[in-house]
């Protein structure tokens, strides 16, 4: 349990400890090194060297040279050097630590003796007679001073950063790689590849991510079974409902044969109703299928302009029988990825509906244009000159079996499924359908379709 938790916890901890340890180690290492250097040469000898160096510079470059030399030491070395005049003031005007001042005061009142004698030689003489005392300022050695001189500890710091960076990078990748795999699997699943499973790709991992993967697989399995059984149910329903219909149709044919044209009108009526029932079953099933669909199954290039022209042509032919027309206004040449058959049925359903409601001697107009402000999106508008739909009904228009104004609908023989099917089909293509009452009169349905139905 909580293996991932411990992994994260321990990794961060280790990384932090490593980094802190490396920093401290390098700092102490450096201090040690400095101290050893001092010891190796002996503080006195080093001081002596400095004095000789300072005197040399004083002789050659005067007071300005000394100032530059001091600044250089200050920048480079860990232990700064003070040059004090007779009043105990530093040549560079730096603050002189109290212990140094006190010691100098003591020395001034006492004669030099014993161990302090060499310090007498720490005097720099300038050509103009000025005298400076050279004092190493050990008090100034602080951690701040160490850090302020990056050159000193840059290398160990960089190494520590790289080491802990590597640890963190590996940790991050270890954590996110299976999540990425899980995301890709989810996307694949969403596009309809229901056989997708993740756990087998994670090898021997046994942490929260692996558990998540197993949970995903379990869900995927369950969904696959459910969808499988639903598909089976649909096909069973289809078969069971249609078998009697098939018999009914043949029986009707037999009845026609045997009655020799008598009751032909009634038989026509029965035939028409049978067809209608058949169509309704088909619509119900395709709606159920669309509802259960995750995304478009068939993706092929669909010539929208051609599709629109064909639908308009067929609908126009049908519409002319009732003194109505279907016209094409603007059609841009567009090819999108999708299921031609689904898109066609969506368009047909909407156009048929429009033809049903448009006033006599008027035309339903179809247009296909790029959506303004949205590249890769196309807008199909189906505009009719009908009475429109009450505003309150607009949002409900795409629900199954919704009727607007009962009497007229019954007369026109609508099933109330066409628009619902159209909407589902368009949605499976990543698009949207909306309905509007036109201010200038009439009613229009707008389909917005992306050029490629991406997984949303």
């Amino acid at each position: 349990m909580h293996r991932l938790f411990w992994k994260i916890f321990l990794s961060f901890w280790v990384a932090l400890v490593l980094f802190a340890a490396a920093t401290m180690f390098s700092a102490s290492q450096y201090l040690e090194h400095t101290r050893q250097q001092e010891e190796a040469a002996g503080p006195r000898e080093r001081l002596q060297q400095r004095v000789v160096e300072a005197q040399h510079i004083a002789d050659r470059a005067g007071i300005e040279g000394l100032k530059a030399w001091l600044r250089d030491i200050d920048r480079r070395e860990l232990v700064p050097v003070l040059l004090l005049d007779r009043d105990g003031q530093d040549l560079l005007g730096r603050a002189v630590p109290t212990p140094v001042t006190e010691r100098l005061a003591r020395e001034a009142t006492r004669p030099w003796h014993g161990p302090f004698r060499p310090r007498m030689r720490a005097l720099i003489h300038l050509a103009d007679g000025q005298e400076f005392r050279l004092v190493p300022d050990y008090q100034a050695v602080t951690l701040g001073r160490v850090i302020a001189r990056p050159r000193v500890i840059a290398l160990p710091l960089i190494l520590a950063a790289l080491a802990s960076g590597l640890v963190c990078f590996l940790l991050a990748r270890y954590l996110t790689a299976p999540l990425d795999r899980l995301r890709r699997a989810t996307e694949r699943y969403a596009t309809g590849d229901l056989g997708t499973r993740v756990a087998p790709t994670l090898g021997t991992r046994r942490d929260e991510v692996a558990e998540l993967a197993r949970a995903f697989d379990h869900m995927a399995q369950r969904l696959q079974e459910l969808m499988g059984s639903q598909r089976q149910l649909l096909s069973d329903v289809s078969h069971e409902l249609r078998s009697p219909l098939a018999r009914l149709q043949v029986a009707l044919g037999l009845a026609r044969q045997r009655t020799d044209g008598r009751a032909a009108a009634e038989f026509d009526r029965i035939e028409r109703e049978t067809e209608r029932l058949n169509e309704l079953i088909g619509q119900l099933l395709s709606l159920a299928r669309l509802e259960s669909g995750v995304t478009v199954a068939a993706r092929e290039p669909v010539d929208l302009a051609e599709l629109l022209t064909n639908v308009a042509g067929d609908a126009d032919f049908e519409a002319r029988a009732t003194h109505r027309r279907v016209e094409i206004a603007d059609v841009a040449p567009v090819t999108i990825q999708g299921d031609a058959r689904l898109l066609q049925s969506a368009l047909e359903n909407i156009v048929r509906n429009a033809v049903r409601y448009t006033a006599e001697e008027t035309a339903v107009t179809l247009s296909l244009e790029p959506e303004s402000g949205k590249p890769d999106t196309w807008r199909i508008t189906i505009h009719d000159h009908g009475p429109g739909v009450p505003e309150a009904m607009l949002p409900r228009l795409f629900e199954p079996f919704v009727r607007v104004g009962d009497a007229r609908d019954r007369a026109s023989g609508g099933y109330g499924l066409g628009l619902a099917i159209a909407q589902r089909a368009v949605r499976l293509h990543g698009g949207e359908v909306s309905a509007h009452n036109e201010p200038a009169g009439g009613f229009s349905i707008v389909i917005r379709l992306p050029a490629t139905p991406g997984t949303r």
């Binding site: 098939a246 043949v250 029986a251 044969q257 064909n310 058959r341 066609q344």
Partner: protein, 231 residues
């Protein structure tokens, strides 16, 4: 009188359909499962089989696949209305045509007649048919016996494939529109999303192979129709 084999597991339906088809002047025999249908079809004596896809045990597809290994008996498939794939699979396996079920029996009769018109009937064979032999390049079509040879090698094809090829060959070098081809070869109007022609043409391509020069024998003219390449 044309003899028809009706293969469907719905006993009541086949009974009524037999009566109906009898009334239309066909002699009908029925089979209620795949095995029986296959046995009867192989036994011979039929001019056409109406084959339901959905049968328990051996499905219509299995029957068709096994039948086509040895026989070119014209087959009309009855497919489930919501399964577009069924029709494509059926045509790929060598069905002459398909009809979604449930169907209007009048339409069924019309389809049956259209297929029978294309098939070499017994009377035709006896009379020797028209002596015309259609020759183009390496392809020979014997109109009387409805035999096709390609480069001297006989090519077995269903009567529907023969009819499609015949129309294309007569118009070789010209584009034949799908609507035209449907009416002349299949004997019916082209309906939207009818894949029959595409499937028949693709199986013709498979059986005949490309021209000797490597050129496609039957070209698809996108959005228009098909064209047999004149060598």
């Amino acid at each position: 009188m044309s003899r028809i084999l009706l293969a469907d597991d719905d006993v009541e339906l086949t009974e009524m359909l037999s009566q109906y088809l009898g009334g239309e002047g066909f002699a009908v025999e029925s089979a209620h499962d795949g095995e029986a249908a296959l046995a009867k079809a192989r036994h011979g004596g039929f001019d056409l089989m109406v084959l339901d896809v959905m049968m328990p045990g051996k499905s219509g597809f299995d029957v068709l696949r096994e039948l086509r290994a040895s026989s070119l008996l014209p087959v009309l498939m009855l497919t489930a209305r919501d399964e577009d794939v069924d029709s494509i699979v059926g045509l790929e396996l060598g069905a002459d045509d398909y009809l979604p079920k449930p169907c209007n029996p009048r339409v069924l009769v019309a389809r049956i007649r259209a297929i029978l018109r294309r098939a070499p009937s017994a009377e035709n064979a006896v009379a020797g048919g028209s002596p015309a032999v259609l020759v183009l390049g390496d392809l020979e079509m014997h109109a009387g016996t409805r035999r096709v040879t390609c480069g001297g090698r006989p090519v077995a094809m269903t009567s529907t494939e023969y009819s499609v090829l015949e129309v294309l060959l007569r118009e070789a070098g010209h584009v034949v529109s799908k609507a035209d081809l449907s009416e002349r070869a299949l004997g019916r109007k082209l309906t939207r999303y009818d894949r029959s022609l595409d499937m028949h043409v693709s199986s013709l391509r498979r059986k005949l192979g490309p021209l000797s020069g490597g050129e496609e024998r039957i070209k698809t003219v996108r959005g228009v129709g098909y064209q047999y390449t004149r060598p």
